[in-house]
Subunit: 199 residues, 3 copies
């Protein structure tokens, strides 16, 4: 199994964990929790593949489904998880970095223009969380509170810029992923936000 594939499974797993937690906090039943976990973890990659004319990854890769089922079972078994909120946030940031890089990299492999590769990287990273919040009838975190979109965008731009400089793709992905993590961690640490219109 390649490194990229393992990272993909890990990001699916952590997005499913976060999704299951959000759904549980919203009071959905076990079925709803599993459903939201699945949507939160695969819809970004699915949309990316549909836009690239490829088959969604869960149609051909059973490990993706196994990742989600594991995350759901883990959530149902270890019910009280309020004290691991911080851990979940760290994992979510890790998932964001991996998803952004896998989206951007796949777009390049399909010979897509750089501007579209950036957008596909961001779509891969943010779609799951957005749909999760919409379906749970919550205010989307992406649009209101955190710098999720900005972090993914900075990482995808970094990947593309380094790639133009003929850095190897693996190194592009590692540095790009680090930029995603750094942007998000710093924005949370120092409470940085993009401005809003003052009313």
């Amino acid at each position: 199994m390649e490194l990229l594939h393992i990272l993909d499974l890990l990001s699916t797993f952590v997005f499913a964990l976060v999704g299951a937690r959000v759904a549980a906090d919203k009071g959905l039943d076990y079925g709803g929790i599993a459903f939201i976990a699945a949507i939160a973890s695969v819809s970004g990659g699915t949309l990316r593949n549909v836009f690239l004319g490829l088959t969604p990854i869960w149609v051909t890769d059973p490990w993706i489904i196994a990742s989600i089922i594991s995350a759901v079972i883990l959530t149902l078994v270890f019910r009280r998880v309020t004290h691991i909120g911080r851990t979940l946030l760290i994992m979510d940031t890790f998932g964001l970095a991996v998803a952004t890089m896998s989206g951007t990299q796949l777009a390049f492999e399909e010979n897509i223009a750089w501007y579209a590769a950036i957008i596909l990287g961001v779509i891969t990273a943010v779609t799951g969380g957005l749909l999760r919040d919409v379906l749970c009838q919550l205010e989307p975190v992406l649009l209101h509170r955190e710098t999720i979109g900005t972090s993914a965008l900075m990482g995808a731009i970094t990947f593309v810029a380094l790639n133009q400089l003929e850095v190897t793709q693996n190194l592009c992905a590692i540095i790009g992923g680090a930029v995603v993590v750094l942007t998000r961690v710093l924005s949370i640490r120092f409470d940085l936000h993009l401005p809003k219109f003052s009313k």
Copy 2:
């Protein structure tokens, strides 16, 4: 016209009827009612086809559109329908069974792996109702109250299991559909639900 096609049209028709009713109860105008009826009845099959790389069925089959228009006209003509709520529920269950089976069966015809066939069956069955509720700004029935997802999942698993035992596809579909109906009817009759996290 084949039996499967007739069943598909029937499930489109009943999903459109239920969608039109939900939209009317929510106070949408006639245009909104028609729009929600269309979304509720075709989005599941459309998503299934997009994921399988096929053209959505309503692009090539005018009968699908005729089904929806009939359902909308029927809803607008027979306005007072509160007393047929039970009838609608029965028809919705029937639509759920047919949609699950048509999704799973089509996936098999396209030589998709069994785990993806199960998921595609469930997607075909539940997407329309989910989008209907989201667009009408209602709490999604799928995630909160009923065993819609569970029923579709049980039916799809039954189809796949029987198919592995080399039962003919028609028989798989009939038994699988019966499992969908039975699971939903029993869960409503005996008020069975999947558990939630106790707070």
Copy 3:
């Protein structure tokens, strides 16, 4: 650059402007404003292309992205725009007409049946505004207040009808677009709405 392409860019630009404005009024930050502007302006055409088995236009055309960025920058620079609400409505109506025609015309170029061309025209025109409202957690304008869907539908039907009469496609598009504008303007001017169910 062809006329159709220029019109497409203009409709993307105005939908992005309207989307950015709605997002700003809802209190989203600059990132959220840009995100909603993008969704509002490209999701209709993207869905149309996915259903037709084509690559989304923003994957291959950088001008689409430039249109959106311009609209967002313009919104952020000229903050106070309440007095141009009327201008925005006029532009939105123009965007609606262009999007309906481009959707219907593209469907014909792909040799799609007339009934599907009508539906694809409407989808191209209304999807962006619908998703914009859902993501901003607003009551969708499409479903509740205005005759957006009706206008798009009338325009698409006009295009198809004229096309059957062997009118040239350019003329079909001009007359069809005029019907969209006229339907919407008259419905707003005389406060015409589709009826609702009386309770």
